[in-house]
Symmetry: C2
């Protein structure tokens, strides 16, 4: 421990607080505090219909946070990355103004990732494949030394729940990321379960209706095509986001308003989505036997209306539910979980090895 | 290591083979051999439509193996346990005649188990619940000291694949146990993945058709109801096993014969089951991202006919399959896997801690 403390001192991450008198008997102890103001991490998120960025310091305080609603499906990859890099640049400038040194950038993307190579392999909802996102962002940022890590949005959102949310109290959990796509971060024994190739948690492509409509992945009746954000909005009679038109983030607040007003069509849309989520999450629960299911992303705000059909499905279809029901938890991080998880990923690496460069 | 060797010697599990001259330069080494003849384990399996027992020695040789076809659904739990205990007794006598000391009995059952308590919690296909199987067998065997362990059949069959089959070459795998019920043993990083409560792998109750027929679990369109042994036999026009009537193990060989003869109805029955298995195993693969799927139990013999529709489904529905296909492996242990895994479980415990009593 003392080696770690020395390293933290050298980096300016620890400060002496002076002698602590807490009323106990014995020699007054020298108090140490984390100098959380000095070092921070940037989280960057490339969503399907938005970009987001945040700056989080070592105390895990969010010092800067910005979301830009924009449909990234309508434009070239280069334009999206230009815009994402500019947003990251804004965060870096903000950190510089605050005299905070940035330990690295964590990037969340809506697709399968090779985290070692820093590549996005496939993002069906963006129709992107094989992009060396880390290298492309690094080139645009013009900073060869800054560590940049990339991972799947649902993985990072699931880790955000572990580090910043209710994590430790949830046991083994399936964190469900609801947005235009649906993904999961599986947390088992306090660690992210990645699968043999790092592609675990692709629950959006569980087939909930073999005769359902075609999905961007090529399959039919996939969960995210049937119960994702756009399916819910369409079923509720609200416009799904149209490429480049208007303000794309107004539909969800509008949906919540309708739900609060008791709008029958909106209530049915969310109830149906909950039942479909229930089929997929029952399947998952029968396979991996978690303690808890966490509703996150845009599902967090819809939890009051999703919960009942989802819990009914779990009670009926999970073979072990009679012995011990699976708990349902509403994430408090909501749609900010992925970008905050991206920054927290860097922070965790700094705290785990303060003297080392952050690298995968 | 030398402490372990001494312990093994004391127990008579290791024998000196004398000086070994293998042509290499240097002092001749004293060879050691495992005295695999001296200690063995008994595997006992309570199937839905059969009982099975085996004696396996430390070299993992099967020294005794017997399967009794009988429909255990038509009789009381007590009668089944009487019969199972008699079968285990036969194995113990055989071991005694051979002067082999039995380190313990591993019991495989078709349901969810509390392995610490030695209890079967639920076995939907037997309609059994909350039976202290270990205590009940112990009472019948009249041997208070013999360790008896109990686990789910699919878990033990999956472990048999790890210890006695292709295990190490398979990477992370989903071992699929096909019988009247369908279960899975999930092996991740060379260990059984049990889930938070030990109920992982209950894939038989994945819903493959929400409008399908009712299952013994109370759900509808569960995989095992749609693609289990009895569904296949019925679709092929063969008699499913009738309680207490005739010889229940003749239907499967009959099915294989029809398949080999190119019988259209039988081929369609197995192809349909393969497609349904494909839906469920694609879902599972999207969630946990395994390297390999192993077809075991009665599915092993059906692999030549199940493989194509199953592989098609995996290729189409597993979102990561384009990057690296999931391999399909036919288990060589077939329907003996669970009972052999039950014995191997005890053997592994003896070898792991030779001086300790075998206990969970």
């Amino acid at each position: 421990v003392s080696v770690l403390v020395q390293e933290l001192f050298k980096l300016g991450l620890l400060v002496e607080l002076g002698a602590q008198t807490d009323g106990r008997i014995g020699r007054p102890r020298s108090g140490l505090g984390v100098n959380g103001d000095r070092v921070a991490a940037v989280g960057l998120e490339i969503g399907v219909d938005y970009l987001a960025v945040c700056v989080t310091d070592l105390l895990r305080r969010v010092r800067f946070h910005r979301v830009e609603a924009i449909d990234n499906r309508g434009v070239t990859v280069d334009r999206v990355l230009d815009r994402a890099a500019r947003l990251a640049g804004t965060a870096l400038e903000r950190a510089a103004v605050d005299s905070v040194s940035v330990a690295g950038i964590g990037v969340a993307v809506p697709g399968m990732v090779d985290i070692d190579a820093g590549c996005l392999l496939v993002a069906p909802n963006l129709d992107w494949a094989d992009r060396a996102i880390v290298a492309e962002l690094r080139g645009r940022l013009g900073n060869a030394d800054l560590p940049i890590l990339i991972d799947n949005e649902a993985n990072l959102a699931g880790l955000a729940e572990l580090w910043l949310g209710a994590g430790a109290d949830l046991g083994d959990y399936v964190y469900v990321w609801g947005s235009i796509g649906i993904g999961a971060g599986l947390v088992v024994d306090g660690k992210l379960f990645r699968g043999s190739r790092g592609f675990a948690g692709e629950i959006g492509h569980i087939v909930v209706d073999p005769s359902g409509p075609e999905c961007a992945c090529g399959g039919h009746g996939c969960l995210e095509r049937m119960a994702g954000q756009e399916a819910i909005l369409a079923a509720a009679g609200l416009p799904r986001i149209a490429s480049g038109l208007g303000s794309p983030d107004s539909s969800l607040p509008q949906l919540i308003e309708l739900l609060n007003d008791g709008n029958v069509r909106a209530l049915a849309a969310v109830r149906d989505a909950g039942a479909l989520l229930g089929i997929a999450l029952s399947d998952i629960s029968n396979v991996i036997d978690p303690d808890t299911i966490v509703l996150g992303g845009n599902y967090a705000d819809l939890t009051p209306w999703l919960a009942q059909p989802l819990e009914d499905a779990l009670a009926n279809q999970v073979i072990a539910a009679e012995r011990r029901p699976i708990l349902l938890h509403r994430s408090t991080l909501g749609p900010d979980a992925a970008v905050r998880g991206a920054a927290a990923w860097i922070i965790e690496r700094v705290l785990a090895r303060p003297g080392m460069a952050v690298s995968y």
